[in-house]
Amino acid sequence: MYQAFIFVLRKELLLAFRQKTDMVTVLFFFIIVSSLFPFAVGPELSILKIIGPGVVWVGALLCSLLALHRVFETDFNDGSLEHLVLSGEPLTVLVIAKVSAHWLITGLPVVIVAPLIGLQFGLSVDSLTILLITLLVGTPVLSLIGSIGAALTLGVRGGAALTSMLILPFYVPILIFGAGAVVADAQGLSIDGHFSILVAMLCLSVALAPLAIASAIKIALE
């Protein structure tokens, strides 16, 4: 089981590495989206500071969203999803491996780059730290929930737009609490509430999303 996890993860990472486009485009897109705002808003630090966390968070969310269709779609089309199901290993474990790969490719790079972007917006070191931590907790939730949507829309006529339509409602609370924590902290408010909610969302989605994804995949293959 543990071995199966490792093999699926390795395969995904190797694939992503071969298809460099994905990773590079995602990171590039993140940097461009978040760099656009200083241009559009002008160099006033007081405003940049306020919108900074929100912009970084929206960027992270969009990166996750943009790469979502890769998680299961190609596997579905080329028949390797069937192999996963028929491997006899617990599908939830394999699913977690695939989602982890998605996070490593879209979430982690964003988390790493985010502080640099934050600096552009004149965020303080405190704010940057909190931004980093909320992203670290929040982006896996994005990957997990997004993958539910991706699995549900497999082989369905709706495509990427339908996926985003299904999952964006779930993304919104993550966004609100993630970006909200940074803003609240900057205003001197306690962020325990925000943070505990983010952690709760993480726990909940780690526990439940793999189940939902696994059943969605089985349904898609019928």
Binding site: K11, L14, D78, G79, H83, V85, L86, S87, E222
Partner: protein
């Protein structure tokens, strides 16, 4: 020891089969025949457990196949119309990353020699997307060399795109599998003399 009982399945209003029954023992081969759209692929997917039938059940060694303690899933080796290869990866990488999931842990040397035996020396280090149709199929079928431990082979039109040499090589593999006590269910529209004593199951 594999029995299919009263299987029924419909796609919308189109009833593909009803009350389908057959059973097979170790060393048996079943060839599913039927015209295009008669439901061969669907039947194979149901037997392998990918699809749920509307009625009836698949029995494996006396128990329901779909029960998780039946050990059925770990006995199935299904190869469908799509070959499940990743087009950016080479033949070697594909096999190396796919086989462990199916419970086989061959060394690199074993994989390479199996690919060589399949006539893929020249292209085994190329990404699969640069291969010809038949070469892709050969890569997918090389998997069979490592699937001795999964006794129930379910192959959907395995001969597609293969040239004469590859076909006879595959026929040989299938015969060996059956002789060593395996189960084989397959479809093909061509008339190869795969297993002369194969049970024929017509869906028309």
């Amino acid at each position: 020891m594999l029995a299919v009982q009263n299987l029924g399945f419909a796609r919308g209003k189109n009833i593909l089969f009803e009350d389908l029954n057959f059973s097979m023992n170790a060393g048996d081969a079943v060839r599913v025949t039927g015209s295009n759209g008669s439901g061969k692929t669907t039947l194979l997917r149901i037997v392998s457990g990918l699809c749920r039938p509307d009625n009836g059940a698949v029995i494996w060694h006396g128990g329901l196949a779909r029960k998780s303690d039946s050990g059925f899933v770990k006995s199935v080796n299904f190869i469908g119309h799509d070959d499940g290869l990743k087009k950016q990866l080479t033949a070697i990488e594909n096999l190396k990353l796919m086989l462990p999931l199916l419970g086989a842990y061959p060394s690199d040397v074993e994989i390479e020699s199996a690919l060589d035996a399949a006539g893929l020396q020249a292209v085994k280090h190329k990404p699969v997307m640069y291969m010809s149709a038949g070469q892709k199929r050969r890569v997918a079928l090389t998997r069979l060399d490592f699937m001795k431990h999964r006794v129930l082979w379910i192959l959907d039109e395995p001969f597609t795109s293969l040239d004469v040499a590859a076909v006879s090589c595959l026929v040989l593999k299938l015969r060996q599998h059956i002789e060593s006590g395996g189960f084989l269910i397959f479809t093909t529209h061509q008339d190869f003399d795969v297993v002369s004593e194969a049970i024929s199951l017509s869906l028309d």
